[in-house]
Symmetry: C2
Subunit: 307 residues, 2 copies
C-alpha cells in the first residue's frame, strides 16, 4: 500500500491528505436539518449528518488527492451510530479509489494489539470464517509501549499489504513534554524515530519506503528536518498544516530530495473551507464541496512550491 | 468516582478488578453455538457470545469485586456489533453496581481528545441535547502527546466525577524500550509519573487520592515501588498479575501503607479460570461463572496477604 500511495502522489502530483474530521459546528444546516428530520437530534442524527457531509466532500476531491484520513474519535464519540458512519465513510472513499488512513492512534500490549490489528488492517477469525472489518489501508499507532505493542500490526502489514504511521513527534503544543526529553544527548523523538525506522526494516515496500511510516508534526520544522535525515526510508504523515498554524515552508524538511517521503494532512482547512473568509465570498454553504475542492487545489500548489 | 472506588474496595475488602477481555477460544461452546445459531458465524454472532459470556461472569462476581475493566479492543475488532456488546456490558455491569474502567488507552491532540472525552466520560452535545454515550466511570489514557492531550479529560472528570488511569509503566516485556530511557538520572516512567501526579492535583477526590490515576505494571516490582513513593496521591491500576506472570509479592509495593492506593487487574486468570487445570477439576464448562467466582476469592485472599 505504501507503493500505491507513492504512485498516486506522483500521478496526481499532490501530497495532500484530506482529514475527514467532521464537527457539527461546521456542517451546513441543510445537511444537519435533513438528518435530524429523519433521525432526530440523536447520535444517529449526528452520525448520519457526518456521512452525508463526507460523501459530498469525497465526491469533490477524490480525483485530486491520493488519500483521506478519517479521525475515528469524531465518530467513536457517537457510539455505534458514529462507528457506522466511520465504516460507511471508509467504504465510500475506497469505492472512489482513495487510500484510507484510519487515524486511530491505538496502543496496547501484544495480545490486545493483535485484536486491534486484525480488526483494522487484517482479518478477524470467527471459527472457520475470516472477516475483514474496518478495511483501512493505513492506521496510526502510539509507540509508548515499545516494540511488542507494534509487532502484531507488522504481520498484517506484510500479509495484506497495509501500512502504519507511528507517532514520533506530534504537532500539538505540549508534544515536547515527553517527546523532547533528552537521553544521552538525543531527544526522545529521535530515539523513537530510530526505533520506528528499525521496525520498518521488517516491512519494506518495493519503491524504497517502508510500510511502517511515522507521524511528524509540521509545527516543528527543525525536528522534522532532523527526523528526515535519521529515517530516510520512512514515509511521514505530517499533521499541523493550516488550522494548526504550520506553513508549507515549515514542513518542507519533511520531504526527501525526490519530493516524496511525506504526505501532509489538512482537515478543517479543507473540509470547513466554505466557512473561511476567502472562500465564503466565492462559495455558498450549499457549495461546501466545491470550496473544499478549491482548498485542495490551493494546498496542492502551495506544497508543490516546496517539495 | 475515585472516592466510591476506595469505599467499595474497603467494603468488599478486595482490591481485585476483573478484566472483561473475552476471546472466542475460551468462551464455552454452548454459549458460542447458541449465538451462532441465532446470528451465524458472523461479527454479530461473536459479539453476542461475548455479551452472554460477560453477563454470566458479572452475575457471579458483582458482589465480590469493586470494579470490572472491559478491554475495548476485544469488542472494537468486531465493528459495530462488537462495540454494541461493549456498551451492553458496561450497562449490565453498572446495573449490578460495579464500577466500570474502560480500558481504551486513547491518545490524541486537544480538540480530538475532547471528542473521546465527551463520548466516553462526559456528554456529547447534539444541538440542544446533551447525551451520555459510553458511560464508563474510569478510562485509561496514553500520555505520549503531553498535557494538552490529557487536559480535555480532566474537565469531564471534575464535572461528572469520573476518573482516569494514565499509562506510566506498562506491564509488557518491551515497555522499557521507551519508558526506561534515562533523562538526567531519571527514567522516563519516573518523569511521566511526576507529570501524572502533577496533573492529578487538578482533580483531587475527598479521600486523599486524585481522580487521575496511573497504570503501573505488576511485572516490574522495583519500578512500581519507586513510583509509589513519587506519586503518593495517585491511585494505581495494576495489570500483569496472573496470566502475565506477576505474583502478589511482586506488586506489594504498589499499595500504600493504608493497604489502599492500588487495584489489581486479572483477566484470563479469572474469566477463563475454568480452562485451567486447578479449576477444571472442580468446575464443568457450564460452571465457568462459578470458576471465575472461586478465582476472584483466591485472588482477593492472595492480594490481602500483601496489602
Amino acid at each position: 500500500m505504501i507503493d500505491q500511495l507513492i504512485k498516486k502522489i506522483k500521478e496526481m502530483d499532490n501530497a495532500t491528505v484530506v482529514g475527514l474530521d467532521p464537527r457539527l459546528n461546521f456542517i451546513p444546516s441543510f445537511i444537519k436539518d435533513a438528518s435530524y428530520a429523519k433521525y432526530g437530534k440523536t447520535l444517529q442524527g449526528a452520525a448520519n449528518a457526518f456521512y452525508e457531509f463526507n460523501k459530498e466532500i469525497i465526491d469533490n476531491i477524490y480525483d485530486l488527492v491520493p488519500a483521506v484520513k478519517p479521525q475515528i474519535a469524531m465518530y467513536e464519540q457517537y457510539g455505534i451510530h458514529g462507528l457506522n458512519a466511520y465504516l460507511q465513510t471508509i467504504n465510500y472513499a475506497k469505492e472512489k479509489g482513495l487510500i484510507v488512513i484510519g487515524d486511530i492512534k491505538r496502543s496496547d500490549i501484544a495480545s490486545t494489539a493483535l485484536a486491534y490489528s486484525n480488526g483494522h488492517i487484517g482479518r478477524v477469525k470467527i471459527e472457520d470464517e475470516l472477516i475483514e472489518v474496518y478495511k483501512e489501508d493505513f492506521i496510526t499507532l502510539n509507540p509508548y509501549l515499545g516494540y511488542d505493542s507494534i509487532e502484531p500490526y507488522i504481520g498484517n502489514c506484510n500479509a495484506y499489504d497495509k501500512g502504519l504511521f507511528v507517532l514520533v513527534k506530534t504537532s500539538n503544543p505540549n508534544s515536547g513534554e515527553i517527546q523532547d526529553l533528552e537521553v544521552d544527548g538525543e531527544k526522545i523523538y529521535e530515539k523513537v524515530g530510530k526505533l520506528v525506522a528499525n521496525w520498518g526494516e521488517k516491512a519494506m515496500g518495493e519503491l524504497g519506503y517502508s510500510r511502517v511510516g511515522a507521524v511528524v508534526g509540521a509545527t516543528y520544522p527543525k525536528q522534522s528536518k532532523d527526523l528526515r535525515k535519521i529515517m530516510p526510508k520512512t514515509f511521514f504523515l505530517v499533521p499541523g498544516y493550516g488550522a494548526q498554524g504550520a506553513t508549507a515552508e515549515d514542513l518542507s524538511g519533511c520531504f526527501s530530495k525526490d519530493g516524496l517521503g511525506a504526505i501532509v494532512n489538512s482537515s478543517r482547512g479543507i473540509i470547513a473551507a466554505y466557512t473561511k473568509e476567502d472562500y465564503s465570498k466565492m462559495f455558498k454553504a450549499e457549495e461546501f464541496g466545491k470550496a473544499a475542492r478549491q482548498a485542495v487545489i490551493n494546498m496542492r500548489d502551495d506544497l508543490n512550491r516546496v517539495r
